[in-house]
Symmetry: none
Subunit: 209 residues, 4 copies
């Protein structure tokens, strides 16, 4: 699935990229604070460092900002994931590392992850699929890891299980962001990672025996 193109009136692609970066940065800060609906386009323009008129040279509608933001957040998460997980060796140890890494990324970007979770539903029927597709790609990362492990005999899992467990991993990580009001009171990030890793591994490993 190709990226959904948000049309800009401005032709200079380099400029479009630059302005949109400013825009996304400003918008994320605002969305964190007050959510998409309570943030006005004027505020977004101001936070981005340009005028409301200029804002509309780079988007068509307010919703485009949300799409751009969601898109960017996923790219950010993905990028950070790939930096480390690219080198996966299909051992329990490296699986653990992958999970720990993912959880740390979630912790790092917890505001962003939260924004995504709470605001994505406001995307139009047109944009939503593109974002859900990105979420699928996140899941796919863990599917691949699990798959490799299965192929190397480290885990024994059916296709069905692989898919579900990948979802579980993704969700049990995101949990750290969207249930932080409760979890951060009880655990440090390291404790959380250790406990969840144990939990996940057992849930996945059992069959090995």
């Amino acid at each position: 699935m190709k990226k959904r193109e948000v049309p800009a009136s401005v032709k200079d692609e380099r400029l479009v990229k630059k302005r949109r970066n400013e825009m996304i940065k400003g918008a994320i800060a605002l969305f964190k604070q007050k959510g998409f609906h309570r943030t006005t386009t004027r505020e977004i323009a101001k936070a981005s460092g340009f005028s409301i008129g200029t804002l509309y040279e780079y988007i068509r509608q307010k919703e485009d900002v949300l799409y751009l933001v969601c898109d960017r957040i996923y790219d950010e998460v993905r990028e950070r994931m790939e930096k480390d997980i690219g080198t996966h060796h299909a051992t329990v140890e490296s699986f653990k590392l992958a999970i720990a890494h993912y959880f740390k990324v979630v912790d790092d970007l917890q505001d962003e992850v939260l924004v995504m979770y709470q605001e994505a539903k406001s995307l139009s029927k047109e944009s939503l699929p593109y974002v859900l597709n990105k979420e699928m790609q996140m899941v796919a990362i863990f599917e691949e890891i699990l798959q490799t492990c299965v192929q190397n005999g480290v885990f024994q899992l059916t296709e069905q299980e692989i898919k579900l467990f990948a979802h579980n991993i993704v969700v049990l990580g995101q949990m750290w962001a969207f249930r932080r009001w409760s979890l951060h009171k009880m655990y440090t990030l390291d404790e959380f990672i250790e406990l969840q890793t144990e939990f996940l591994l057992r849930g996945i490993l059992q069959k090995r025996s």
Copy 2:
């Protein structure tokens, strides 16, 4: 924590209850469809079967509707849970049944659960704690079950683990609602329940050996 009282201008308590029921029912239907922010108070009044003026005899602000809705959804979930889980025997079998029951409730009320998850963040700083408290009560149900099992020697878990696993159970169930765009394509509810139960049990049981 006591229920947060939403003041009504109308004095007849029975009537308030009745009208608010109509209101909540109407509002949930609308929130499902278009979310809290895109729903107008006039639409809520209309869907509830009374005029805008009457609506405001039973609430002070639009946000009160959201609070009432969230409150109701939790009560609904809780009620359904308690109907069955009251009779818990601290065996693996009955633990499985509890999970299956919870997942079925989530399936039954998936629209409502979704509304809760996506809109609760729009509650004011004043109301939010009351709703988060209700979510904690949901978690507490599973904490108790796990606790009983541990006391009876069925599971071996630390306090820390009990708390986290209870959260995990709750989240892995809600997942069925908030990731339905993906999960419902791959699994029937029964398959989902079976796979997740297996996963959870292994994650929890392992230490028994």
Copy 3:
């Protein structure tokens, strides 16, 4: 000019009088605080000790309350004036006493006088004349006093002067109420009375010599 009758649905005249008394008392308290426009009919009903439905058994419109209030305030002022001034002896001394008495009444009822001054303009074209007429009666009191004094050779004034000076007396008294934000800081009531009496007397007496 006859009193404008505000029609009531209730027939029992005694009851109408009683209820309206409660109403006027409650309304004045509210109008003092927040003015006619910012006071709601519900508040008036509550402050009067009965329900909104009952309120409308004794008036037709909100504006009727204002009319009744204005009417009552004038009656109050008049009544207090007449209690003392009835016995006027057409001497400078008794003229002074009349002024002092009037100023004290204004001081006593300053909130009421203020309400009158600030809200009377909100009366309908239908009611206004009746209230202005009452104001004219206030002026007439002093016209009469001046007239008597002129007839007895105490003052020498033309008809024109009598009318204007009567207005002046009334206004320079009301001033104590509607400029209290300034005057009360500078003078006690007694000082104010003394200074104004001197001022008035000189303005009026001069011609005697």
Copy 4:
């Protein structure tokens, strides 16, 4: 006391001034007719020649219009007063001229003066002091004149008397506006000026002898 600044969203100061002028003009016309409370913001916008949205680019709240109107009226009165009274010679003759001039200004701006008197009370606790301060400045004009006359031996008055008489002058002038329903029937402006000037002068001069 500095002017209270009413913030505008529009940055171009020249434009703000121009639009606010249109606004004030439109609003005064409406307030004269129906008072502040009965005038809607849409009516103000329409009378000002722009849309409701544009109106709110130049004010924050409806009340700001009232403040702007009151502020303007005082400036208008002051300006007209200063044009002539600047050259005051501390003689009875020039004192008479000052009064006559003031009374003529009141006559000229009687609608505006009325609006001020009847609506100022609707200003917020925040704005009121600024407007009362302007009223004090009006009084101060006559205080100065009286003071100068006293210093030059034209009148003999205590500080206390100066302050009170200045108030009296101001009020006996405004009277021409707020009691016009009665006074205009009995006197022409010139008659009123002559009679009041005589009255005032006697009240003030007496002590000379």
